[in-house]
């Protein structure tokens, strides 16, 4: 009894000291960021003002959080780790079995559900901002998952291939009048070609070096788009991109428009619905191909490459080709998504393909659990849907006053959730690996054995 108390007293002392150091660090960091602020005085001069009250509040929050973590959360985790893991119940197994079909059914029915709740007026926003936006990122996440999750090659310039797809569609559709269905595969092929082009110089690089070079590649593509003004119109971007048609029938209010041809009353909803189902089909196609590839020798070679490259070479696997196919496949799906993005927006500029875009997609893959399709989809819903939800939190203005803008706090809340994830699930939401083939029964493999790849 007394020994136990002694241990707990030591823990408290250690936690307090820990919280003290954290508070000191937070103070050092926040003093210039929050403690001082420049404001304009009556004579329109900039003067230095102090916000020590706010600074103290921030430091207190950080120290309190650290104290709560080391006294409450960490012991909880330690106890949970000691508890033997129970075998999954029948209910849980059934849930896992039926979750996939249910999720696909839900996303197919989603526009109808939204329509019945909000009516035609409000539905466009929910289908377009939430449905289509999230599905684009689900598709991008699944595409990058091939490169990062399966092959273990960290690619920080993935938005470059997204940009290649978008500009391929925009420029070819505008200048040569080619249709959406013709340009969709073409954009994918062009992006895959650039994927291979990037793949060649980076084949010898691993880990951090690979990440830096792919990052640079993403910037190169963006800078070319900005500076090659005669073709890309630079910062101004490409506008007036032809919108996709329903197999030749445009979505407009004219006599030949979709609504008139099918004898319906015109609303902009039809185009949104059409785009929703196109991106849904593209995303499902990505998932289908990835699941197939995982069971093929090339997919197994990607995962083997992530586990041990030297062993792969000793088994007669051409690692050069294997890496290039991973880059090309990942880039191809980004190209598809890019051409869809351009067709949906009608306007694209280099601003849409910044490093933040690549970082968001990498964050989706890492948050979801590398290699897990379901995890990546959930992470995309949380990250992109969460951003959109922030725009809907207008009621907070009533609490915090009219100047309060919830979207401004997006990054702060993101950061907070990232920290929580690092504590709770350092390897992502879904960490188990499902084997691609089995003899008797499919057993999931724990994250402790699966490697993350090193380039």
């Amino acid at each position: 009894m007394s020994a136990e108390m002694q241990i707990s007293r030591i823990d408290v002392v250690r936690a307090l000291r820990d919280a003290g150091w954290t508070a000191l660090l937070a103070f050092g960091l926040f003093l210039p960021l929050i403690g001082f602020v420049t404001v304009q005085n009556m004579d329109r001069q900039l003067v230095l003002d102090t916000r020590f009250g706010l600074l103290a509040a921030f430091v207190a929050i950080v120290a309190g959080g650290r104290l709560a973590y080391s006294l409450i959360i960490a012991p909880l985790f330690a106890r949970a780790a000691l508890r033997p893991t129970a075998a999954p119940s029948a209910l849980r197994t059934a849930a896992a079995r039926w979750f996939g079909p249910f999720a696909i059914g839900f996303v197919i029915a989603y526009p109808a559900i939204v329509l019945s709740i909000t009516g035609t007026g409000g539905a466009v926003k929910w289908v377009d901002n939430f449905g289509i936006q999230i599905l684009i990122y689900v598709m991008l996440g699944w595409g990058l998952n091939i490169v990062v999750g399966l092959a273990g090659l960290l690619d920080l310039g993935y938005a470059a291939f997204y940009a290649v797809g978008a500009y391929s569609y925009a420029l070819l559709a505008k200048n040569f009048g080619l249709g959406f269905w013709m340009l969709l595969p073409l954009s994918g092929i062009l992006a895959a070609f650039w994927g291979i082009l990037l793949g060649f110089p980076v084949l010898r690089l691993r880990g951090d070096y690979l990440a830096i070079v792919t990052l640079a590649f993403g910037e190169i593509i963006r800078l070319v788009l900005i500076n090659w003004v005669p073709v890309t119109k630079g910062y101004a971007g490409v506008s007036g991109i032809p919108r996709p048609t329903f197999f030749g029938i445009p979505f407009n209010a004219s006599e030949e428009g979709f609504a008139a041809v099918f004898g319906l009353e015109f609303t902009p909803m039809y185009r949104t619905l059409f785009l929703y189902y196109v991106i849904l089909a593209l995303a499902l196609f990505t998932a289908f191909v990835t699941l197939r590839l995982r069971r093929l020798p090339v997919g197994r070679a990607w995962e083997a490459l992530r586990e041990d490259e030297i062993a792969c070479r000793s088994l007669g696997i051409n690692t050069t080709n294997t890496k290039l196919t991973a880059f090309a496949m990942g880039a191809m799906f980004a190209g598809f998504a890019g051409s869809f993005f351009a067709a949906r927006q009608g306007f694209i500029s280099p601003e849409s393909f910044t490093f933040l875009e690549s970082a968001t997609i990498v964050a989706i893959v890492v948050l979801g659990g590398m290699g897990s399709m379901l995890g990546v989809a959930i992470a995309a819903i949380v990250m992109i849907g969460g951003t959109e939800i922030m725009r809907e939190l207008d009621f907070l203005k009533r609490i915090f006053g009219e100047t309060f803008d919830p979207t401004q706090y997006r990054m702060l809340i993101f950061g907070f959730f990232m920290v929580l994830m690092m504590i709770w699930r350092p390897r992502g939401l879904i960490v188990t690996r499902a084997p691609s083939v089995f003899l008797k029964e499919r057993k999931l493999i724990g994250a402790d054995l699966v490697k993350e790849g090193h380039g």
Binding site: L296, A304, E307, G316, P435, L439, K443
Partner: protein, 301 residues
């Protein structure tokens, strides 16, 4: 030895790393269907020789040639060397210059498989998946380089079933059928060693190179491994090249032993002959040749 019985011929192999000469002017041959052991004290250059044979290193000098078929192709060795190409294929045989091939082709075309001193399994993949990755090239062909496989054509499904059946036979042989669906990283050490041998065998090799397969095994596991290697030699008629420290393994199963010390060959012959060689004993005891008798008396040999 009759030239026709030779499967691997290493000639004047030299490997330098900067100023360090790891292997110097080494020549030896390995006979078809025999177990050839490469032994020597730590740092003698054994693994370097392996890395040269499997093309993980490009030798500084020398020629490493491997023959498929009955060995009638050896006559064309000099012509092949001068032609500057990697290999010559004939009806019922082929001749390869391994030092000219990238490491994956050494396994894919010349069919030399290897294992590693520190086990290199795909720890996060199942035991069965490990054996299927080893059949990559055959399955890649069957899947039409992925195209037929993505389309779901039945020809690939049949090829995959055959690959799984082959893997299952190997699992039966190494006694791991019950753990086929578990991760390879969870296996006990001895089982991981056996699995690595089975994985190398799934590439259909002509020559199997094993880098210290008995390292870290207890006597019982070591004896099991001996049986496995002898069975492989007997049932598949393949040749085995072995690096080993464990003398109980080496003396029991090898047909022919090559001894290296400081990168130089000091003995080459049958196990009994090598065991009695004064230079080998001196190298292992770490003394000069003329001191062997005194040291042996001291340690009571």
């Amino acid at each position: 030895m009759n030239a026709r019985d030779i499967v691997l011929r290493v000639e004047h192999l030299t490997m330098r790393f900067g100023g360090l000469v790891a292997v110097e002017d080494l020549s030896f041959t390995a006979a078809r269907g025999e177990i050839t052991a490469l032994i020597g004290p730590n740092g003698a250059g054994k693994t370097t020789v392996f890395n040269c044979i499997t093309s993980f290193y490009k030798p500084s000098e020398g020629r490493i040639a491997l023959v498929h078929g009955d060995g009638t192709m050896w006559g064309e060795l000099d012509a092949l060397t001068e032609s500057g190409t990697r290999r010559v294929l004939r009806q019922g045989g082929a001749l390869y210059l391994l030092e000219r091939m990238p490491e994956y082709l050494v396994t894919q075309q010349a069919r030399v498989a290897r294992t590693f001193q520190n086990i290199r399994l795909f720890a996060g993949m199942t035991v069965l998946e490990n054996l299927l990755v080893a059949q990559h090239n055959a399955l890649m062909l069957a899947s039409g380089f992925t195209l037929f496989g993505v389309l779901g054509l039945p020809s690939y499904a049949a090829a995959e079933r055959a690959a799984i059946e082959k893997a299952r036979q190997w699992l039966d042989r190494i006694g791991l059928t019950d753990r086929a669906d578990g991760p390879a990283g969870d296996l006990p050490y001895g089982a991981q060693r056996r699995l690595e041998v089975a994985r190398a065998m799934c590439t259909d090799p002509v020559l199997l190179c094993l880098d210290e397969p008995a390292a870290g095994l207890n006597p019982r596991e070591s004896a099991e491994l001996n049986d496995l290697l002898l069975a492989i030699r007997q049932d598949f008629g393949i040749s085995i090249l072995l690096i080993e420290h464990d003398m109980s393994v080496v003396m029991k199963i090898s047909d022919h032993i090559v001894v290296l010390d400081y990168g130089v060959k000091i003995a080459d012959g049958a196990p009994q002959q090598v065991r009695d060689d004064a230079r080998v004993i001196a190298a292992y005891l770490g003394v000069e040749g003329d001191e062997v008798a005194r040291v042996e008396a001291e340690v009571g040999l």
